[in-house]
Symmetry: C2
Subunit: 345 residues, 2 copies
C-alpha cells in the first residue's frame, strides 16, 4: 500500500490550464471576476482529480487552526465521568455547528510544568481553550490572564484569576436545595461537600448554609463531611455522619455522584432513603434518574453551559468580545429521594 501522492492545487491548475490564483478564486467562491467558462474548466478538473484543499496549508496561511481544545483535569478515567461527558457532548455540538473541531487535552502534570498549555496557542494548535473541572489550585491558568488567548473556564470561576467563565448559578442551587429541605420540615441537616478548591463547590455550600441559617437552622461543624467527589467518598461520609449524629434526617451532597454514594452508604447502614434520611444531589446527570431511589437534585443546565461556553470562546477569538462572565439559572428536579423527616427514632 504505497501512499499515493495527494493532489494539490497545482495539479488542478495544470489540468485546467489556469493559474493557481484562478483555481483558488473559484474554489473560494470569490470568483466574481472569473468567466463562467473558466470556472467550469476548473471545477471539472477539481472533480476529475478529486482535489481537496490541504487544511494545514490553509491554516498556516489563514493564521487560524480551526480547532478548539477541551482541557480536563488528570483524573483516573476522567472521560468516563458523565459530568465531563455531558459538557463535552454539548461543546461538541456547538463546535461542529460553527465548523470547528475539538481537541482533547488532559492536564498531565508534566505537560503543565513544561507550559504545554501555553504552547497550545503559541504553536497554533488551537484558536481557543475550554477549561473543564478547573480548581483554585490550578495556578497555571494564571498564564492566560491578560493574554489575548481565547480561554473560557467552563462551569466554574476562579476568584483569584480574572478569566472568562460560563457557569451555572451554584449560589442559587444552594438556596433552592435548602428551601426544599426546609419546606419538607427538616431541621437536622448534614452536608457532604466536594473539594474545597472548587469554587462552585464552596459557593454551593456557603449559600446552602446561609439559607438554612436565615431560617434559624444551624449546621454544626460535625454535620459536614468530605465526600471527595466520589461515590465511595459519599458513601463513607454518609455512614460516618449518621453514626456521629443519629438525629440527622436529611443530607445535601455537593454533586450527584456523592449523593448516589451516600444513598448506598445509608442503605448499607440499614437506613431507608428517603424514609429515614432524605438525600439531595446537585447536577442532575443521567445516573441520578436510575439511582434507587431516583435522586432529587438540582438541575444544572450543562447543555446550555457547553453551548454558551463554545460561543463565548469563538466570540473571544474573533475579537467580537473582550470579556465573558455568564451565570445561568438552575432549578430543582423533584424525584424520590426526599420526603418529610421521620417522626421519632
Amino acid at each position: 500500500m504505497a501512499k499515493r501522492k495527494p493532489v494539490s492545487i497545482r495539479d488542478v491548475a495544470r489540468e485546467s490550464n489556469a493559474s493557481l490564483t484562478t483555481v483558488s478564486l473559484v474554489l473560494n467562491k470569490r470568483d466574481g471576476r472569473i468567466s463562467s467558462a473558466t470556472r467550469e474548466r476548473v471545477l471539472k478538473a477539481v472533480d476529475k482529480l478529486g482535489y481537496v484543499p490541504n487544511r494545514l496549508a490553509q491554516s498556516l496561511q489563514a493564521q487560524k487552526s480551526g480547532f478548539l481544545a477541551i482541557l480536563v483535569p488528570e483524573l483516573r478515567h476522567v472521560f468516563a465521568d458523565p459530568y465531563f461527558g455531558e459538557l463535552i457532548s454539548s461543546i461538541e455540538e456547538a463546535a461542529n455547528e460553527a465548523g470547528y473541531k475539538l481537541l482533547l487535552e488532559v492536564a498531565h502534570k508534566k505537560d503543565i510544568e513544561q507550559k504545554r498549555h501555553v504552547e497550545l496557542f503559541q504553536r497554533r494548535f488551537v484558536d481557543g481553550l475550554l477549561c473543564l473541572g478547573s480548581t483554585n489550585r490550578d495556578e497555571f491558568l494564571g498564564d492566560f490572564v491578560g493574554s489575548d488567548n481565547a480561554v473560557v473556564i467552563v462551569n466554574n470561576h476562579l476568584p483569584a484569576l480574572s478569566l472568562n467563565s460560563v457557569m451555572c448559578d451554584y449560589r442559587q442551587a444552594g438556596v433552592l436545595a435548602a428551601e426544599h429541605l426546609i419546606d419538607l420540615g427538616h431541621k437536622e441537616i448534614a452536608y457532604i461537600h466536594g473539594a474545597a478548591e472548587v469554587q462552585t463547590a464552596s459557593d454551593l455550600r456557603e449559600s446552602f448554609e446561609a439559607r438554612l441559617a436565615s431560617s434559624g437552622i444551624k449546621m454544626p461543624k460535625n454535620h459536614a463531611a468530605d465526600g471527595l467527589y466520589t461515590e465511595e467518598g459519599g458513601a463513607a461520609a454518609a455512614a460516618q455522619l449518621l453514626k456521629t449524629n443519629p438525629k440527622i434526617t436529611a443530607i445535601m451532597a455537593g454533586n450527584d455522584k456523592m449523593a448516589i454514594g451516600a444513598i448506598a452508604g445509608l442503605k448499607n447502614a440499614g437506613l431507608s432513603v428517603p424514609n429515614d434520611v432524605s438525600v439531595v444531589g446537585c447536577d442532575d446527570l443521567q445516573p441520578s434518574i436510575y439511582a434507587d431511589p431516583p435522586l432529587t437534585t438540582i438541575h444544572t443546565p450543562l447543555d446550555e453551559v457547553g453551548h454558551r461556553a463554545c460561543s463565548a470562546v469563538l466570540a473571544l477569538f474573533d475579537g467580537k468580545q473582550d470579556r465573558v462572565t455568564e451565570t445561568l439559572p438552575v432549578s430543582l428536579t423533584l424525584r424520590n429521594s426526599t420526603c418529610g423527616p421521620r417522626k421519632i427514632r
Copy 2:
C-alpha cells in the same frame, strides 16, 4: 488586546546573526556541524524571544499532522456514556505517551453524507482514525477498505468489511457468562440483547446460547428481548420477560447498562435481585460497582483495548504493520447480582 505578532524562526535567525538553516538545525538537534559558540548564540536568541515553532508549518512540511481522531456514533450525550469514556481515556493515555493529540469526531449524518470522514485524511487533519461504537450498518466505513489510511475499529469487528480491529473476545464472554449461570444451577434463562447490527453483540449472544445449548439448556424465542442498549430498555425488557415467563430465574444482558436497567425493572416489579432473579452484565464499567446489588458481570479489558488500538493505528501509519486484528481475553467479575435459582415460586 491586540494580537501580538508571533515570533518566527526568521526573527531568531536575525537576532542571532545566523541563517534559518542554522537555527533549524540547532533546534532539531541535528547540529553536529554547528560550533558550540553558534549554538549558544542561537539558543540565547530563542530564549530571549520566546520562540516556539509553529506546528502548522512543521506539519505541512513533515506531511503529518500529529493528530489521531476518535470517531464516535451520533448518540445523545455519547460522551457521557462511560463505555465510550473509558475507551477514550485509555486511548488518550497511549496517544499522549506517543506524542500524539486526539481529535473528537462525531459521525454526524450530514458529515458522513459529504464524505467528511475520508476528508479527515485527504485534508491532512489526522494521521489515523479510531472508530468506536461502529455497527454493521456503518457502510461509510467501506470507504476505508483498501485505502492506505490508518484506521482501526475499536472493540468491534465488521465481518462484511476487511478492516483492522482490536477487541475483546465476546465469544469467550458469552461462554463465561453461560457457564457461571449453569454452575449456579439455573435452567430458565433469558437474554436481553443490544442492537443486532453490533457484531460483538451478536457474537456474545450466539456464544452464550450455544454454551447453554451444549449443556442441554434451550432458550426459546420468547426468552429474549431487545434492551436497546439503554437502561430504560433494559428495565422494560426485564419486566416484559418476567411477565411472559414467570419461571425465569436468571437474565443475561448484553451490557452493564441494560443489566442495571434490568435490575431496576425487576425491583420495580417487586422482585428481588439476586434472590428471585439473577442478573449478569457485560463490560464491567464503574457504575456496575455502585449498582444495587453490585453487578456480576464480564470484565472486558477496555483499557488494554484502548492502548493497543492506539499503538495499532500508529504502527499502521508508520507502515510498520499492514494489518491488525487483535482479540483480548475477558474474565468473569463476581459481585452480588447472581446466586442460585429460587426453589419454588
